[in-house]
Symmetry: D3
Subunit: 239 residues, 6 copies
């Protein structure tokens, strides 16, 4: 079965990561996964939120879509005076995923905020935000080390995310928007470089799915994340 | 290994469901899972949101914590002028889960809103909201049938949710708050009565986890959901 | 003239107070006045707002209706991004009433917030919030004494509230919703255990009313409050 | 006992009403009660809110303080993104009071909004808003009659408001701010020209008060309202 | 060509400034330019915002229209939960203009907020806010000097604002609302008493305009501001 | 005198316009003026706001900074629940400027919204938004013509914007951020291709400025806009 864009069922879309896309952020990149484009920017601030223990750091994320990232223009959050619930859900996922990549004691008493702004959305924006956000985060940490602010890279290992789904009863890796719209099942999986799961969110959008189907989808994601982390490693070199 | 409250590792907390806890809602119940208490109320309105196809129905959910549901008082959302991002995440999960239980064509052009208000929170409020919300939803549908508004029960089958986690390297079913706070891994699983997955959210809070560990946790949830649905069936009888 | 529910014109609805309905609050109760059910929770915090003199305490209240407390579902305040003006009016009344019950110097530099959340509304929710809120407040104070945080009960005396109105030219005590909707005149009266007035709000909804009519209504409320305070005394014992 | 400004205990402050203070409103006045100055403007709109029966009209009020109406500058509501709860309480009172003055069938299917903006506040702003708001409302109605939009004046009679209180154990009429700050008891009373009560709000701010004390305060307000309505009649002539 | 109100093309509307219109503000005036009426109030607070250097002061402005200042009633900002973008634009202009009048070192570590509330709007409200706001500001500064809080008047010179425009191809000074609605070009100009420009905002509303036309409009504004500052000087005397 | 980046006093920064930077918008470009980068996207919607006459169109603009566009991260508008007043001011300017470029009758009953999102800010973001926004707008119009939706290009001519200022008593064209921070005078000028002014905003930030100085700055802007429109013409070809 051929996919819309000619990919095989277990094939990622082409990925392009342009580091330092904006120059003021301590770390940044533009990540492109097919037609999905997310600008990720990591900002370091020398303070921590109240719930964080003294001496340790914090990592958080914010996610937003530009109004015309999609096929139809959407209103800005500020015009509606509320964060879109979908954005709220996604930025919590991205934040948890990136926190898992960081040793908070090595980071020390500072906060890194990773802003993920979707310039163009064609499916998979939440996982692209994790994959690209990790690059921005690692670049910011590297800058802290190079400046001598912290002694050692606080990154524990690579972290990336990818989706898989069941479309027309066929499991597929890395759904684009047109596939995602028709998917019966949609699963997002964030993994580390040991192939372990950091976050997994599966949704039976069109129908419930079996434990076996889930196993297949997680395997697809394992393959996809391995490939994404290879690209991350090429971009960043050794951590 | 004994748990805090003496349960075995694969044992649910005691569950109590009081139907018709409030009398104006078309369907309602108070669900108690251990010390977690959620008031679930299903309201029927004869209109559908713009994105829903003519002739079909819609199910949505709202989730909120009363200010003193927890160990510390929290500010009301309205005082902060925003829905808590955590609540936004949860109510999207509950909404998707309950929609999976309903045949929207049988429901017809009407919306059922299921309000899940946590009176007391001791872990597992989101899954209790699904399990109790299903009861409220089914009671409201039954009322529509009994009134003759719709011809046939639009409920496809039972839907419930439960959590499992890894605490001190021990997988456990249905974490209470004290366990949840110490869990390395936390997984919430919504299932139908065929044991299929509707929603699955796993989070490596303290560490990443393996695909094998995930399998174990899903199995625990399968057992838990089977037991919860037995209780739902006792409460509701045949759908 | 018989009332809708068979009561006499000067008779209260049946009152039931379940203390410690939720376990984390320092004091709590579920108060049921007929079909009106309000969950009252008192939370102690070791800080005072800026306008309160050093060394003295503060008591405040918040009031809200759950979305399906009434015949029709109402939107949550947070969805409208504003506190309902009616709730604002009521919670100011409840706060002033409960403050009148407390010796702020004995309470010392801490704030007690009494949350009154209406689970089911059938008329008289604001006065039920005062009557039940007083119980929650007193239980929280008792806990502070028992813990040794404060030396002496800071409660000056019992405080309760009840409504009276004129329906079909007949004065009546403790209106339920159906009566309230048809009332020409509606009066809410908060009193202490000396029969003195703490708050009195009379509204000529259908027509203006005479000073004599008002006297009659206040007398009815005096009787009602005396009976309510008898119930409060049974629940709490000596203050 | 002499009052701060030399008045007798049962004497109103001097009242000045300048009609048509702003020219675009269908009716307007600046009312000055001592140093309290409220600009009242009545606007007619040819539509009614959803809850109003077809063929009948509606009257509503909004109340606000300019930021420097008082001794200290206060933030604007919009800067805090919420209507002050005090303003919410007051504008509900003003709206109910003015609605009592109008025959909604004679008014016909239109809404009159009375904006009461306090330019300078020195106590008694809510009752001045009622007294001045009535003038603006009546002028707007007169304009509707003069234009031929409605056949007959829809005003049922004069409506005014005044406060009374107990300061240093002395009942007093029409408290200014300095008196109000020291009042043990504060009562606001809105009356029609038959001396009947439309709204009555009594608050035991410093202590509870007896039914006898309340009677005295209502009598004071009766006297005050009679005098205020005499001034209204001079301003408006026959209704 | 005669103007609507009989003025010549280069003639100001009549200007009336009533100082101390409200008594609590450190400085205040009601400024009337034709039918435009703005209440300006300057409030002194002994604190500065974070971005202001220690030892120096700050001046800021807020601008708002009362709901019925205009031909049609407009909703209050707080009802829409946002500052009107037009008000935001104007209050930034007024703030910058008034800051230009003040020596921040002489003012010392305090903030003066100038509230400009439009009671009645008939064109030119933003420039009237500057002209009247300057009076309120200067009066507040004078009070600070008279009280001995600061040693020397921190006002550098007179500041006023006026508009000019092109209506029916005719340049005109000080447009009223009816002229402004038909203007092709509209220019607002804030000047000091050396005839220098502090703020200039020109807008080609109906068509673009030439550099020569702009010169003509600025000359008109120079004349207008000279006359306005003569009035300011009469009101204030020597600064 | 040499400028920070080696430019001459009357020289623009290098300008780069990448059209169709995002693919779903009817027209889009990324405009880079030195280090300032703005993503401009024009969206066509087949409806008009209520105040627009039937049969004619409307053009509006929104402006926002990404959180890390600048040297320091700023909070998102939605986190503060309000549009930044600076953004409100700018988007009104951009909207007015772009409307001046369009024949609303040729556009017909539709709205074009031009979103200007600053990815990186280094001074001159509001004028870059106009210059780039014009490109996005023209591309969207061209698409409407090519699709046959409208018969004829509704663009009247080129529109661009540039700033000039006085730094160290030296007039300069197209200030970058470091220059802008030290500018005594700052002037933004939007012009059409006849060299006529559409919008002109001059601010004496550090000191007032003379009418002669203003003439010099407008001449600088005339030169700059001529060069910018040459670039626009190269990008778009004949309109």
């Amino acid at each position: 079965m051929e996919r819309l864009d000619g990919r095989r069922w277990n094939e990622l879309r082409s990925v392009k990561i342009t580091t330092d896309f904006i120059k003021f952020a301590e770390g940044s990149c533009l990540i492109e996964c097919g037609d999905t484009k997310v600008l990720c920017a990591a900002s370091v601030e020398e303070r921590i939120p109240p719930h964080v223990p003294f001496g340790t750091g914090w990592v958080t994320a914010e996610y937003s879509m530009l109004p015309r990232a999609n096929r139809e223009r959407s209103k800005r959050d500020v015009a509606k005076l509320k964060l879109s619930p979908r954005s709220a859900e996604i930025q919590r996922l991205v934040g948890r995923s990136l926190r898992a990549a960081v040793d908070m004691e090595l980071l020390g008493e500072r906060t890194i905020t990773v802003d993920c702004d979707v310039l163009q959305g064609d499916g998979g924006t939440r996982t692209a935000s994790v994959t690209g956000g990790f690059i921005a985060l690692a670049l910011a940490c590297r800058k802290l080390v190079e400046e001598g602010t912290i002694a050692k890279m606080p990154i524990r290992g690579f972290v990336s995310g990818v989706s898989a789904g069941i479309v027309d009863e066929q499991p597929m890796l890395d759904l684009c928007y047109a596939e995602d719209s028709n998917a019966m099942v949609d699963l997002n999986c964030i993994m580390n470089d040991l192939g372990e799961i950091i976050e997994l969110q599966g949704t039976g959008e069109g129908r419930a799915y079996t434990v076996d189907e889930q196993r297949t989808l997680v395997e697809l994601c394992t393959k996809g994340n391995r490939e994404l982390q290879k690209i991350q490693r090429e971009v960043l070199g050794v951590l």
